[in-house]
């Protein structure tokens, strides 16, 4: 007989399993808001605003300013990189110093401006337009040109000014000839007043618009793909009407068979579209589900087959009857999963997944709907009124 020590050893053996990635996040997301308040997050996606990046940028600016201030306080001077450009004392300054000096400083050194920046000699100095041109020259010309300008004789200033004007005109022409970005149409005052609010609402409106667009697309796609399966469109059946349940069961088999004829293009559906359809309970698993291991061929039960077919993501799908029970078996392609939701009964509220080979026994009436987007919806309606929906969908990741 197995002794106590051996039992203890066997009970204690085995390493603890590591939780799947995403489980912690899924649990934390389920912490009820009504008790603990909304979850705090800084994600712009979740908050619908851009306050976090802006706050970060503002913090960086404040930090940089603070660092400069600290540097000044410690060293008594600004760092070298932010030192002001020195004034030029005389016209004898080296060309590079002169070129780097502010325009007014340079003109003062050259004797054209007094300490207040006014022209000292109307006869020698050019009209006020000259000052403007010189300022433009300071901004526009490279260093070498500025140095040659300094060395020019007084009499040639007008000529230089004319030359500068010509060069500026050339630049202007070149600039106009180059393509310019198209400016948005001017907004009316009313529109301008509404702009900030519009910006705030933009993300929400965009997502609403996208959803509406997707709904429209799906609505448009439905008739196109529904041609071959028109007979598969199902209507709710009262649970206490056995005749209608039986009719619905045969309709389900039609729906699954019809899925083989559904054009592949009609079954293409984006993860985003599917995400919009997903219920919160399904969402919590999406992040932590990894593609399952390779499947094993289903065993061969003797049963009467009601229907078999193929939909996107499902390698095989069979609805079979074993005695009085129905059984749904599906083998999923990698990256797909079969999710089951029971709307009324607590015991099967947890979506069900078993690797890629899934079996689910149904002993009640069956309703189903294979949508043209490739999402399979099967639903059982129990005599007690509980409904179970089967959904094959593409994982978001």
């Amino acid at each position: 007989m197995t002794n106590e020590r051996d039992i203890k050893r066997r009970l204690s053996s085995g390493a603890d399993a590591e939780p799947p990635a995403g489980l912690l996040e899924a649990i934390q997301q389920e912490i009820p808001e009504e008790t603990f308040g909304p979850r705090i997050t800084s994600s712009p996606e979740l908050t619908g605003s851009l306050w976090a990046p802006r706050a970060l940028a503002a913090a960086v600016v404040v930090l940089a300013a603070g660092l400069v201030a600290v540097g000044v306080a410690r060293n008594g001077a600004l760092p070298e990189s932010v030192q002001p450009v020195p004034e030029v004392a005389s016209a004898e300054a080296p060309a590079e110093v002169m070129a780097a000096a502010p325009a007014n400083s340079r003109l003062r050194a050259l004797g054209y401006l007094d300490a207040e920046g006014d022209s000292v000699d109307e006869a020698r100095s050019a009209p006020s337009r000259r000052n403007e041109l010189q300022g433009e020259l300071r901004r526009e010309l490279p260093v070498e040109d500025a140095a040659s300008f300094r060395d020019a004789p007084d009499a040639s200033l007008d000529a230089d000014a004319a030359s500068v004007r010509e060069r500026l005109m050339e630049r202007s022409v070149r600039t106009e000839a180059s393509p310019r970005p198209v400016a948005p149409p001017a907004a009316s005052p009313l529109e301008e007043a509404a702009t900030p609010q519009k910006k705030e609402q933009k993300s929400g409106e965009e997502s609403d618009a996208e959803r509406e667009q997707e709904s429209e697309l799906q609505a448009k796609a439905a008739p196109q793909a529904a041609g071959s399966r028109a007979s598969a469109e199902l209507v709710p059946v009262e649970a206490d009407d056995p005749a209608e349940i039986e009719e619905a069961e045969s309709a389900v088999s039609e729906a699954v068979i019809a899925s083989m004829e559904t054009p592949a293009a009609a079954r293409q559906v984006s993860a985003e579209e599917l995400a919009n359809e997903s219920a919160p309970r399904r969402d919590r698993r999406r992040s932590r589900r990894a593609p399952a291991a390779p499947a094993v061929p289903p065993d061969s039960l003797s049963e009467s087959r009601l229907g078999a077919g193929r939909v996107a993501g499902v390698e095989t799908l069979e609805i079979v009857a074993v005695a009085e029970d129905f059984q749904l078996r599906a083998r999923l392609e990698p990256g797909f999963r079969l999710e089951i939701e029971n709307r009324d009964r607590e015991w099967s509220a947890v979506p069900f997944l078993r690797d890629r080979l899934v079996r689910y026994d149904l002993d009640e009436g069956l309703l189903g709907d294979l949508r043209p987007d490739g999402v399979l919806h099967l639903r059982t309606v129990t005599l007690g009124g509980a409904a179970v929906a089967f959904v094959v969908r593409i994982p978001q990741e």
Binding site: M1, T2, N3, E4, D6, I7, K8, R10, L11, S12, G14, D16, A17, E18, P19, P20, L23, L24, A26, I27, Q28, E30, I31, P32, T35, F36, G37, P38, R39, I40, R284, R285, R288, A293, P294, A295, V296, W347, S348, V350, P351, F352, L353, R354, D355, L357, V358, R359, Y360, D361, L362, D363
Partner: protein, 190 residues
């Protein structure tokens, strides 16, 4: 005869955390989940015989129930022990459900596709583990909880006593009875 052990309020940092959670502090709740979910998941993996998906589902179910009944946590036991009790009940509820969901025989599937040279040995080990698990699950409720809490959740006999409202001596008696019952069960299935 069983005697109730005196109620001992949870103390220390974990006690403060639990108090903050009961006061509605979301950050504290998230922190508490962080500190406990690995233990809950690991114990559920053992209860479910290595079914990680099911264990993950039941772990989520455990916390859902915990938030709902947080007001009833009186601090008599440690929070982790109380949480394990909920996880254990969630597991039992799962296995007691109508047998309409039939799990695929994962052990057989792995064996069928595993071409490693030590396939036979690993398969036998898995069979032994599964026999032990089934024997544990077949124990009477009082013995079963004591064994799983002690070995699959790492709960001390004293803590088990607190949450069960019995003495530590009674817990140890239950464990000894469980060892004997498991020995007989394993002999019978070998």
């Amino acid at each position: 005869m069983t005697t109730s052990s005196p109620a001992t309020p949870a103390r220390g940092r974990r006690g403060q955390l639990v108090a903050a959670v009961k006061a509605g502090d979301r950050m504290a709740a998230e922190r508490l989940v962080e500190e406990t979910y690995e233990m809950i998941f690991a114990s559920l993996v053992k209860l479910t015989g290595g079914d990680r998906d099911l264990a993950a589902d039941l772990t989520q179910e455990t916390y859902r129930r915990a938030w709902q009944s947080l007001d009833r946590f009186d601090g008599r036991s440690k929070f982790g022990t109380w949480l394990y009790r909920i996880a254990y009940n969630a597991f039992l509820n799962h296995v007691r459900r109508p047998a309409r969901i039939r799990a695929f025989e994962e052990g057989e599937a792995e064996a069928a596709r595993d071409t490693a040279p030590d396939l036979r040995r690993r398969f036998e080990e898995r069979q032994q583990e599964e026999r032990l698990r089934r024997a544990v699950l077949d124990l009477p409720e009082d013995l079963r909880f004591a064994v799983t809490a002690r070995y699959w959740s790492g709960t001390s006999a004293v803590e088990i006593a607190r949450i069960q409202g019995i003495s530590a001596v009674a817990v140890r008696k239950r464990l000894r009875k469980a060892y004997a019952a498991l020995g007989i069960a394993l002999e019978a299935t070998t």
